[in-house]
Amino acid sequence: MRSRTVLIALVAFVLATAAACDSNKANRSSSAAPTQTTAHPAEHEGATGAAAPGSPTELGAQFEQLLGQHALLAVRQMRGVVAGQRDFREAADAALQENTDALSRLVASAYGDANGDRFKQLWQRSITDLDAYADAVANNDAAAEQAARTALVADSDAYGSWLAEAADGRVEAGDAPNDLRVHVEHLMKQVEAYAASKYDQAYEIERQAYEQLFMVGAPLAKGSLTPKLAARLDAPPEKLRSAFAMLLGEHMELIIDAQRATFGGSPEFKAAAAQVNANTTVLTKAMGAIVGPQKASEFQSAWGNHVEGLLAYSTAAADKDEAAKAAAEQNLDGFAARLALYFSDIVRNVLPVEPLTKAISAHDTHLVGQVDAYAARDYGKAQEMERDGYQQMLGVAGTLVGAIQRTVKPGLPVGGSQTGGGGTARPAR
């Protein structure tokens, strides 16, 4: 029962990934943030619990996704400053601005247009100060570092004051500034480590920064909701969706890090790859929580082939070896076909092999396209593919949890337990 459930969930994940790949361009505008509106989500008290656009769970999911993405884009932008990569930095700046615009629209949809404007002002100021910090680190300018640090602490406090007012008491007074302080500390520490060539530390902190800011998404959404609506974000299925969205988004981003680090030195690649493996380990354990240890092991093996295949392609791309690229793509196709057979077999052929194979291949194509663009120094396109690939994960997690909901829940024990004989019975325990 559990294995069947897991496999169906995995298959759903793969299908969702492929579907997202196919509809990338069509969804591009909608994947950013909802259209600006003055309607407060709390007004939709009577809405269904489904994650339709504008629902509390959708709002939380979009905040999580955009905030997690902000952390990663900021990390890369700051490293671009330290490394003096002008072309890359321009692309990173543009991606960061696009993310800020989307976040501001989302804030406006949740808290009203005036708060959207105020948020954008605060957020952009903190990005400017992060940029200044990275610049100070790059130039070994201690005084400028201190000035930027002081400015970032002030930014955190200003953000906290803004949110406390915007949320009208729905968030703890100290939480918001603290969340942002932790975030800027992560970003400062990672760029210091990166500049000192302490790549293990830099990439580990990057992962922490992503997870920390991703998890700020739910509280930010809750601040705009009535307690009753906010409680929907704490429901177990929603928490599971959120956790998988975080891990799958992280997988996508860490693969991209490793792909790009293939073009760098050995220590940096190893540091990036270590975080890819850390994510795989956590993801495997997460799958184990749903499907049990044996199927978790099978998942890890299949996932490992997927990851190794993608990095083999990156190696070939860095080598500019067209024959090796073609061979790597062929291997990826083989992995996809075998994975499809595996999934189909596990679900007893309920799902046919052919569409499964296409779905897995479409997912691979997305990451292959990213590294091709990076190798060609078309950083704008590489960032675009990064954004699209990352945004897919929201739908993936939703589909995954939807499948789990349909298949796992009926298998859970029904009702309470009869764990008493009555020998010590008394009126009330």
């Binding site: 003096g84 956790a243 073009f263 850390a278 092991s297 990851v307 190798a375 024990p413 020998g423």
Partner: protein
């Protein structure tokens, strides 16, 4: 153009060049930092060689099953039976009054997810293994020993009583990626007509970090 003017322009050009160098000198002095940029073959070589040797995480090892439960605060020490689902869809309960049981179709303690351990509050004649479970309070420690003798510690977050007709199935059994533990027994009023208690006592605990 006069010779003097040419000299002046040359000096200005040199100054401009120097100024340009100085503004970007700090970064250009350390080109090795631009490690992720596909700029030079020398830089690429190291990353490519490392990538060639990359191996994904494999060799997943299942967490050993739980074999013993200790709750110092209420003097509980028990081995653990394995429990599944009964034919009617309800959770199986331990066959012995004095021994608790682990719901083996769910996560293992310490793994992501809610591990569930059940025990009887009493037998037909007196107290059973979870007789004092309702006394657990936030901060109390629960220790689970696994088959390899490793221990995982949990801390009580809250203790609640639920009518069995409103048992919080999702909160107890629904998959989560957080490592948690749920202890379940009976509580509330005993219904002599059915021979069962009307409520369940549930202890919610999180892993001790």
């Amino acid at each position: 153009m006069t010779q003097g003017r040419r000299r002046a322009l040359a000096v200005l050009a040199a100054l401009a060049l120097l100024a340009g160098c100085s503004t970007s000198g700090a970064r250009q002095a350390e080109p090795s930092r631009a490690t992720s940029s596909p700029t030079t073959a020398a830089r690429t070589a190291g990353g490519v060689e490392a990538a060639r040797g990359f191996r994904s995480a494999r060799g997943y090892r299942a967490t050993p099953i739980p074999v013993r439960l200790d709750i110092p605060r209420i003097q509980v020490t028990s081995s653990l039976d394995r429990l599944g689902r009964a034919r009617d869809g309800t959770v199986e309960v331990p066959s012995r009054w004095e021994v608790a049981g682990w719901y083996a179709l769910g996560p293992r303690p310490g793994d992501p997810g809610s591990a569930v351990i059940l025990g009887h509050v009493d037998s037909r004649s007196g107290p059973a293994v979870f007789y004092r479970l309702h006394r657990l309070r936030p901060g109390d420690e629960i220790v689970v020993t696994r088959a390899d003798r490793s221990r995982v510690r949990f801390v009580v977050q809250r203790t609640e009583q639920y009518d069995k007709l409103r048992f919080p199935t999702d909160e107890v059994y629904y998959p989560t990626l957080t490592s948690t533990l749920r202890l379940v027994t009976c509580g509330g009023q005993f219904d002599p007509t059915t021979g069962h208690y009307r409520s369940n006592i549930i202890v919610f605990a999180g892993i001790k970090t």
